[in-house]
Symmetry: C2
Subunit: 203 residues, 2 copies
């Protein structure tokens, strides 16, 4: 079985950078935005539309089976969202079948459960996330601390809603992960190197 | 500042063994039962009584300040429980001031917050905890799976109640820890070695 590492992450926690660095350190594939690109090339959907569906998943908080029972399939927008999830899941499974890889977000831990991925969750306290967004995000410059804080919280809420809807699990609940890492006050590069060692030793 | 590692752990998750092995691997002090022994030697309380207070903390679920406001100080039993916590906290702080160490349970992460401990939380799914208790616990032999499961849940509930009461935080909530490790299906000895590397690299 391939070594598969899935990463759930809070916005601003450095999860994406950790994923990229782990993939580089282990010399394995890294899939994040690549999943969107692949989905766009396999369908009629633009990358912008797919990202919009991922980020602004507006379906009500019903389990997917309930949503289907309630006839949401007749709602074209809802149906297209389900289809984005279904297609992405298929692409993720294809990618994970091909070779060792790191997969960021998109319910990877759930989608690949039978392929026994190592499931990481990366989080941090709000102050660290604010500081990181200030350092990294060019568009954060124009926001006040209060606005940026609200933005971080809002993105995480959307991630949680997306994950909880499709998996019937709770996003960020430690029972769904093998390792939950708090990146507050930690150097991300050093942490990624340490996590690489950890994964090398256990996988 | 000393390297201090605190370990919160679910019953049957292997957290205590991990703590012991990390301390051995790092050649640093290990405090668990030793805290009870020290408290007993400094007070008139027997080790049995102290363990009983730790394990069966029967105070109502009020924050400690509220408990005091409501005049629980007049209740001798309640007062003695508060005093066990206070004395243990003092002992833990003394121990952590002396040298690098691993401290298991007893709200160590909270008691030592200003000494910046590395806060580990060890957990596992119920099946793994059952299996571990069957392998390790001599008294588990006489219990049915259902009884053992109930016992595990009950001990964890008591740990949560004790921690939540004294810290005003939530036991096992990942935001209170630096690293949360799921030991399900994992070899504890190997995991402890991997965690030792992790800590050596970051601390």
């Amino acid at each position: 079985m391939n070594r598969i590492i899935t990463i759930g992450r809070e916005f601003g926690s450095g999860g994406r950078e950790i994923g990229r660095r782990i993939a580089e350190n282990l010399h394995i594939a890294y899939y994040d935005q690549e999943i969107v690109t692949e989905l766009s090339s396999r369908s009629s959907l633009t990358e912008g539309y797919i990202r919009n569906v991922e980020e602004n998943h507006p379906l009500p908080l019903l389990p997917i089976t309930t949503a289907r029972t309630f006839g949401l399939s007749s709602n074209q927008a809802a149906e297209q969202q389900l289809s984005v999830y279904d297609l992405e899941s298929r692409i993720i499974r294809d990618m994970a079948s091909k070779s060792d890889c790191v997969i960021v977000g998109r319910c990877g831990d759930y989608v690949l459960w039978d392929m026994e991925p190592f499931r990481l969750f990366i989080y941090a306290d709000i102050e660290s996330k604010l500081a990181r967004c200030r350092r990294k995000g060019s568009d954060a410059k124009e926001l006040s601390d209060r606005e940026l804080r609200r933005r971080i919280t809002s993105i995480d809420k959307k991630r949680a809603r997306y994950y909880n809807f499709f998996t019937d699990q709770t996003w960020g609940d430690k029972t769904n992960y093998d390792l939950c890492v708090n990146t507050s006050l930690t150097d991300i590069k050093k942490l990624a190197a340490t996590l690489t060692q950890y994964l090398e030793s256990l996988l």
